[in-house]
Amino acid sequence: MSRLSVYLPPFAADYSGICSALFEFNSLVAINDAHCCTMNYTEYDEPRWSSTQKTTLCTKLRSIGAVFGNDEQVVDKVCAAASDLQPDFVAVLGSPVPAIVGMDMEGVACEIESRSNTTCFGFPSTGFSTYEKGVAAAALKLVEHYALDCPASDARGVNVLGLTPLDFSPEEGRALSCLVEQAGWHVGASLFLGIDPQHLCNIGAAAVNLVVSASGLPLAHYLRKRFGTPFVVACPLGMRHGSHVLQLLDQAVAEGTCRYDAIDDTAHDVASADAGADADALLIVWDAVMANSLRVALVLAGEKRPIDIATFFSADAKAETDDNGEGLHDCHRLSSEKDFIQLVLGKRYAAVVGDPLLQRVPSLGGRGFFSLPHPAVSSRLLWKEVALCADESFDARIDDIVGSR
């Protein structure tokens, strides 16, 4: 039963991804639901909710309105709130009930925009998909709407794509900025931690895009197509690996090519071969981009064991390889708890790296485990323990794993 989950919680939903992406804007976000979906986001997927004024509101959808397709009621409520709150833009989001009764959220958005004279985005989110698709959808809509056609005029400008508290600490934006600025770069648009709305307009001016999680990949491809901006798919993890990522940025700009995080790992391959095919391996379960970067970071730190990577999340599988076929193709795609169990049982993994809730799966018994809380998995249970990635403290985590052999 592939869709049965006994040990792991359901993960953050697509609408949470959208809300998370829009959080820092002066926006009015209306989730078209009875109230549970809004509560899922505010209570379980938004660590910033209790510290900042925000307007993610609920339409209080009811059966009669859903059955009779009373879109007008939603439009009226949102227009009234838009008039009161004067946001820069409005977003209306779907949830499971609108999805199954076929409410046209984009149509509703058009109606709101026309009546309120406020830009309105409609998102056909369903609650059936996971957060990274929502983050990606929000990023694309905003950039399609706001980005101005401009030449790549900022030779040391880097946009950061795929940065939300569903993958990272809310403080990660600052940590990343510090890292890139030390190397003479500066962050243009940081989507979506530390975003300055004005930077969205000039997002095409940056020399390169840094994709730090899978949710940033669709936008990176869009920007590549529209502005020709090369991108680097890598999440800086600690200072050692951070330096390596900065080199990738330089290479991408110099060559005008897109780069996925990788190193010349001949030494690692040889060491793994020496250890034999049955050597105990490491398994990293995380966001695909972050897991891939962690693998690179471990090898950079001297890890000799074979390392597999796996993820439950994929914003767009097609976007995860570049034109040369390089990318994240060796990342195991897990569509269910059962996939994870089968993966773990199918190979001699010495240790697993991932969200602590993975340890609830009995098949992990007897294996080493290294915790990397992933908010899209463990929610508020571990918000305070989410690691700062672009920070020297992450080097110690890497050393712990390498030293565990």
């Binding site: 993960f11 209080k60 009161d84």
Partner: protein, 417 residues
């Protein structure tokens, strides 16, 4: 049919500030949540927080299920697998559906029958938590409470045990009620939220009377009367001493026992109302439904005692409150009635208000100088419940809320937009 208030505007969901510690309402049971992944997230995370995650699992519905209807077979397969994996096997399994099932039309009876045939040693029941149906005749929560007793069966004989039906988790039974029952040889008092084993829970079948401690469990009590042959009386939370007397007299009559003279207890409550009224010195009072879901009755009682009630915050007017609501609208149209979840409250730029808010929700909206923060609503039963609330109100007058330093999620610190 309940009336929803201010359903014409977007709403803001204030975080739940306090949570019950336990949530397994039937011991040794398991709940299979059948829903889109998104709908299950909060149940999973809160179950981990409460230490009850071994009692829940999830079957994720996909968009394709809406079209194919295959999920009913998937449910049967999932239950087969669950019963292989769970050790010890649960005595009962709740199939817990969410909002979208209202539109899928699952055949509950047929599903339970199929599962019962496949697993005769396990009991099955269907539950729904579908807030999208809040516009329906019966509130979703009432049906959910009814299903807490779904695994009970009709007993051939009854003892002198008394069931409390509708008690919140971790809520102690009212002492006036307990004393009355014990003085007349009735007991034990049985409450599913206090049971440690399935067998203990099943003993509720033996009880001779159900006492309904919350109107949300009235549907449950009626079902148990019809299905199990156990009659019921009500003992709702109330702030009117005369009503407490009526409730106790009703219970005494149902159990064919004498009811003691309660006039002294009534006088003590009236004295307490007077003393609290003097302490308030005419200060405006705001009430909200986190204190009691019968907040209009509370407002009426306080107004009848001369209190200056200025605001009542509630999302809806349930049937049980219709009379008090009508009375309030007719006799005191000056009292502002609204839903605290209305987004406008978040952006109201008024400063703090010199008033006493009973309940945090009203306090948050009004930025009340004084407020009573209630742990869990509807814990106020009997005479002691009234005394407790009045004492908390007097205590709150002695402390001024520092809203400048209180975070109100969704609102900037200090309150201004």
């Amino acid at each position: 049919m309940q009336l929803e208030l201010q359903n014409d505007s977007l709403c803001y969901l204030a975080p739940i500030r306090k949570r019950p510690r336990r949530s397994v309402v039937v011991p040794e049971s398991h709940t299979l949540h059948i829903c889109p992944a998104a709908c299950g997230r909060r149940f999973a995370i809160s179950a981990i927080e409460k230490g009850t995650s071994d009692h829940v699992s999830f079957l994720f519905l996909g968009e394709e299920d809406v079209v194919t209807g295959r999920y009913e077979q998937d449910i049967c397969d999932a239950v087969d697998e669950l019963l292989l994996v769970l050790d010890p096997a649960p005595k009962g399994i709740f199939l817990h559906f969410k909002c979208i099932d209202d539109f899928l039309g699952t055949d509950d009876a047929s599903l339970v029958e199929r599962l019962q045939c496949r697993h005769p040693k396990t009991k099955f029941a269907v539950c729904r938590l579908d807030p999208v149906a809040l516009d329906g005749k019966i509130m979703p929560g009432m049906l959910l409470r009814k299903q807490q007793y779904a695994f009970l069966e009709r007993s051939d004989s009854h003892d002198r045990g008394i069931n409390l039906v509708g008690t919140r988790v971790d809520c102690k039974p009212d002492k006036d009620l307990v004393e009355l029952l014990e003085a007349n040889g009735f007991g034990p008092i049985r409450d599913n939220t206090e049971c440690d084993t399935y067998e203990e829970y099943r003993l509720m079948e033996k009880s001779c009377l159900n006492i309904v401690t919350h109107w949300m469990s009235l549907v449950a009590a009626r079902d148990m009367e019809q299905r199990l042959g156990i009659p019921f009386c009500v003992y709702y939370p109330t702030f009117d001493a005369r009503e407490v007397v009526c409730f106790l007299q009703g219970i005494a009559q149902a159990l064919d026992m004498p009811c003691p003279d309660l006039s002294a207890a009534v006088r003590a409550v009236e004295d307490d109302y007077d003393a609290t009224g003097k302490a308030l010195q005419g200060m405006p009072v705001a009430l909200d439904s986190t204190v009691t879901m019968q907040v209009f009755s509370l407002a009426r009682t306080m107004l009848e005692h001369g209190y200056n009630v200025t605001h009542v915050f509630a999302a809806r007017v349930p049937d049980v409150e219709a009379e008090s609501y009508a009375w309030l609208r007719e006799r005191h149209p000056e009292v502002a009635v609204g839903d605290a979840s209305n987004y406008r409250g978040l952006f109201d730029e008024r400063g703090t208000q010199k008033c006493l808010a009973v309940g945090y929700e009203g306090a948050r909206v009004l930025r009340a100088d004084h407020y009573v923060e209630v742990d869990l609503n509807d814990d106020y039963h009997g005479f002691s419940g009234i005394h407790q609330l009045l004492a908390e109100m007097r205590d709150a007058l002695g402390a001024k809320a520092a809203w400048e330093s209180i975070h109100v999620p969704g609102r900037t610190q200090g309150g201004a937009r």
